[in-house]
């Protein structure tokens, strides 16, 4: 009510919020993150252009990590088809497709819903293969422990300069299809220079899913992230005893909580 003269008229009030527009997504992401870490799961958000080789890198990861005894899992997002999830299953990574329809990115709530019906708690490393897109996925936190961007050598050395937000979000850039370098006019130094102009702490690994080049270093990077997050010593069959969050998934959380369908 108008407090100046008490006339009873409505009044215009400026409400200061200074709040992130994605605050709701970030709450859902925090919730996912808590679940992953409590269950001893290293979750990674794998992003990159369509055709960068995200799925091929994961197939090769299954081969390269075989000696680690890790149980891998994935959800794989595409606008249409479950082709990638089928490929990952064949490679020995239990997977579920997330078909996004017209949506160009995953958000935390979509990832959360997709986890129902997936035995993600029983994995050691869980990949969230995002929609192939260097723009939209960059700004949505999904609850991952780290963002990995796959950038293939056929995409051009200046890609990071064109899509700075994506590379700013990356904890690691995997330069993929390195076996093709001898056939291309490709300058690795120029790509690394571009990355250093958009990432303050560029971390880069060169890999080839076809030849296996660099895959050991990638697996070592994953192992280091597991250590960093205190995800050590979990072995097949023990998870349910060690990690309380491996219990059946049913709960209500405080602000930003949700109901399960």
């Amino acid at each position: 009510m108008c407090t100046t003269c008490g006339c009873g008229d409505s009044e215009l009030v400026p409400v200061e919020l200074h709040e992130k527009i994605l605050a709701g997504n970030d709450r859902a992401a925090r919730h996912n993150r808590e679940h992953f870490l409590e269950a001893g799961v290293l979750a990674l958000n794998l992003m990159g252009s369509p055709g960068a080789g995200k799925t091929a890198v994961l197939e090769a990861t299954a081969r390269a990590a075989a000696g680690k005894g890790w149980r891998l899992g994935a959800v794989s997002a595409d606008l249409a088809t479950d082709n990638d999830a089928v490929r990952l299953e064949k490679a020995g990574i239990p997977s579920k497709a997330i078909t996004t329809g017209q949506a160009c990115h995953l958000d935390a709530e979509l990832v959360h819903r997709s986890l129902h019906g997936v035995a993600w708690q029983k994995t050691d490393v869980f990949f969230i293969e995002n929609v192939g897109n260097l723009v939209c996925p960059a700004i949505y936190d999904l609850g991952q422990a780290a963002n990995v961007v796959v950038l293939s050598v056929t995409e051009g050395e200046d890609k990071p300069l064109k899509y700075p937000t994506m590379f700013l979000a990356a904890d690691l850039v995997l330069i993929s299809k390195c076996d093709l370098i001898p056939h291309l006019d490709f300058d690795m130094a120029s790509l690394e220079d571009a990355l250093a102009r958009v990432m303050p702490r560029p971390q880069v690994l060169k890999v080839s899913a076809r030849t296996g080049e660099g895959m050991d270093a990638w697996v070592a990077w994953l192992a280091a992230r597991r250590l960093e997050h205190g995800l050590v010593g979990k072995v097949a069959g023990l998870a349910a005893h060690v990690h309380p969050a491996a219990q059946p998934h049913g709960h209500g959380h405080g602000p930003g909580g949700h109901s399960h369908g």
Binding site: V15, L17, V135, I139, T165
Partner: protein, 114 residues
């Protein structure tokens, strides 16, 4: 085109705030877009104009403020020039992104309250 989903989130937030305060109307909102927020201001405006019809924001103009991205040294605060390698030449420290450079923020709403 994630601008549409962002505008959806924005309008839901504004409507929630309006309900909470039992507002009679929404008369304007202001949003800040950092250059590295991954959001195109023009697309955002278009998405807003498309989505606001039929919502509490139907008559509320959107004021957008664009914040250019800037980097500086976390130790000596020297600005890192645009386009340069993101490392302080003097301190050899990795650069720090200045506040607001990558933020997408709902700054405020003008609400008509009883």
């Amino acid at each position: 085109m994630h601008e549409y989903s962002l505008v959806e989130a924005l309008i839901s937030r504004v409507e929630a705030e309006a309900r909470r305060r039992q507002a009679l109307g929404v008369h304007g909102l202001s949003v800040r877009i950092g250059e590295l927020a991954g959001v195109d201001p023009e697309l955002f405006q278009t998405a807003y104009d498309t989505f606001r019809a039929g919502t509490l924001c139907a008559a509320a103009p959107l004021t957008l403020r664009f914040v250019p991205a800037s980097w500086s040294c976390p130790r000596c605060a020297t600005p890192i020039p645009r386009g340069e390698v993101l490392r302080c030449q003097a301190c050899q420290e990795p650069a720090r992104l200045d506040e607001g450079s990558d933020a997408l923020t709902l700054d405020g709403i003008d609400l008509e309250v009883p």
